[in-house]
């Protein structure tokens, strides 16, 4: 037998497949991975301390910069935490608008995440742009309603910044006419693609029990077969009024996560359909007019509000001392905690699989580093 020697390799921090500035200190034995240490913090900007210095309203645009793919969801989660803290009621119509934005975010996030995953597998640009095209259409809608494509800054305490108009609704409906066809094409294009099957099946397996103990959430947890979704477990906004399913995987490998994301886009489509149908009957305006946005001083206390972000459970933990800015502001970032499972998922696989497994977690460094 030949005696082999272990070798340490750095993947990143500047690497096209690391989804940002992220370093993986990898120990390999030949091609097989022995150990992996995630190293990050290159994007750290002490977001949580900014939250303690800024006023509650001032902090809203900073939450855009966490998971910059889904600023709408971040705004929603943060607004919920503050509303819970200050006891603010949100009108029904605003809840529906938030749900519509969240589900559009989910579709755009999954479309581009799957595109990036395939890009990581080596399918160079085609599949990525396939996902980005749908994302672009949705971002145009976000721009129309909020003023910015990615840094939406759309939620306010007790509602949203601007009401949506008939033109927006007609455009969403138009977009949704094309979506089922897009999902079908996406599945036909890729789901049975042999190259994808070889790269994804049986790779990066995360068993059910391990997934739970690792506190992973989102498609990563559901791919492992745990039907846990905050929208069902703790229905926020108006999610209890919609009929939708939770897709789960059976094995917990990269392929399952891929399929779960494809199916989740379909479920988001179902929620959108129902939300648009129910919204005209919703009461109230787009915002609670009684709330003093700029000089909000919630009573002393603490709150934790979570939403199902496309990446997983996104939560904001706030402690108030009764002043105009939070005493403690903590973000439970799904990408950050999902990342802790990376080393275990990668061990024993080939070094080329690391990139695919990382892509299947779908991390965003803005949220990991905060």
């Amino acid at each position: 037998m030949l005696k082999t020697e272990e070798l340490q390799v750095n993947i990143g921090p500047q690497h096209p497949s690391t989804h940002g500035v992220f370093r993986m200190l990898v120990t390999v034995d030949g091609e097989t991975l022995v150990d992996l240490k995630p190293v990050f913090g290159y994007l750290h900007r002490n977001h949580e301390q900014l939250g303690e210095v800024n006023s509650y309203l001032q902090n809203m645009p900073f939450t855009d910069r966490l998971d910059y793919f889904n600023s709408m969801v971040n705004n929603h989660a943060y607004a919920r935490a503050v509303e819970q803290l200050a006891g603010i009621e949100v009108p029904e119509r605003a809840q529906y608008i938030r749900v519509i934005m969240d589900e559009l975010s989910r579709i755009l996030n999954h479309a581009s995440a799957l595109g990036f995953l395939l890009g990581d597998m080596g399918a160079w640009q085609t599949s990525l742009l396939w996902g980005l095209r749908e994302r672009e259409k949705i971002l145009d809608l976000f721009e129309y309603v909020s003023g910015a494509r990615m840094m939406c800054n759309y939620s306010r305490f007790g509602g949203v910044a601007r009401d949506i108009d008939d033109y927006f609704i007609s455009e969403v409906k138009k977009l949704m006419q094309g979506l089922p066809r897009y999902f079908d094409e996406f599945e036909r294009l890729l789901v049975e693609n042999e190259i994808l099957l070889v790269r994804a099946k049986g790779v990066g397996v995360l068993p059910k029990e391990l997934a739970l103990s690792y506190s992973v959430t989102g498609p990563l947890l559901r791919g492992s077969g745990v039907p846990y979704d905050v929208r069902k477990a703790e229905p926020y906004a108006v999610y209890d009024r919609f009929d939708f399913d939770i897709p789960v995987g059976t094995v917990g490998d990269v392929y399952d996560r891929f399929l779960v994301r494809v199916e989740e886009m379909r479920q988001s489509y179902r929620i959108l359909e129902q939300a648009l149908q129910q919204m005209p009957e919703a009461e109230g305006g787009h915002i609670n007019p009684k709330v003093k946005q700029q000089s909000l001083k919630p009573p002393v206390g603490e709150s934790y509000a979570r939403v199902e972000s496309p990446k997983g459970e996104l939560g904001f933990y706030l402690v108030s001392d009764g002043s105009g800015s939070a005493y403690r502001y903590k973000v439970r970032a799904p990408s950050f905690i999902n990342l802790s499972a990376l080393a275990d998922m990668c061990k024993g696989y080939k070094i080329a699989d690391v990139v695919v497994i990382l892509g299947s977690i779908d991390i965003v460094m803005g949220e990991v580093d905060r």
Binding site: G41, N46, L212, P235, D321, F336, A341
Partner: protein, 177 residues
């Protein structure tokens, strides 16, 4: 299944040694100054446990009641009480509400020690490292307790309330006690 505060009463009969009784009077005095601004109030309705009993309580919670999903670990620096509180949020897979377990330790390095939950909940790994990095809490039993955001040579714990928020962060070394 467990309502808010219920764990506290269960623990007082099942594991009375685990409950941390030191803070009851602090909370009472703070309660009086409710209208006063810039004074946080210690929450009393959740179970406050002694640091050394935390793993036992966490396992009790998981094995007896099925709260197996450790969602969030938050450290809060209460400078007024000379204390750092760490809030552990556990979820049951079928339940909407969480159960919060609080651990309160002193701010000086000898007292700021909490046993790590990482051996049982590996998902706590990065969160504990973050709490160490930002608040200087020591987690014995953690496999790799290193700074996670700041560089290794950095001294001080940036999220502590007495860490200076102005000045040159590269030359101003402080907070290391």
């Amino acid at each position: 299944m467990l309502t808010k505060g219920e764990l506290r009463s269960i623990l007082s009969t099942e594991m009375p040694a685990a409950l941390d009784q030191r803070w009851a009077e602090h909370a009472a005095t703070a309660e009086e100054g409710h209208g006063e601004e810039n004074k946080p109030v210690l929450q009393q309705d959740d179970a406050v446990v002694n640091a050394e009993h935390l793993p036992a309580v966490a396992h009790f919670l998981r094995d007896t009641f099925g709260y197996e999903y450790l969602s969030n670990i938050t450290a809060v620096d209460y400078l007024d009480f000379d204390m750092i509180e760490v809030v552990y949020q556990f979820y049951h897979i079928d339940e909407p509400a969480d159960v919060r377990v609080r651990v309160r330790v002193g701010r000086n390095p000898e007292a700021c020690v909490i046993p790590s939950l990482t051996p049982t909940w590996p998902g706590a790994n990065l969160q504990e490292r973050e709490a160490y990095d930002m608040y200087g809490i020591d987690f014995p039993g953690h496999p790799n307790l290193a700074r996670v955001y700041m560089w290794d040579e950095f001294t001080g714990f940036p999220l502590r309330k007495d860490f200076p928020k102005t000045g040159d962060k590269y030359t101003h070394v402080t907070g290391a006690e």
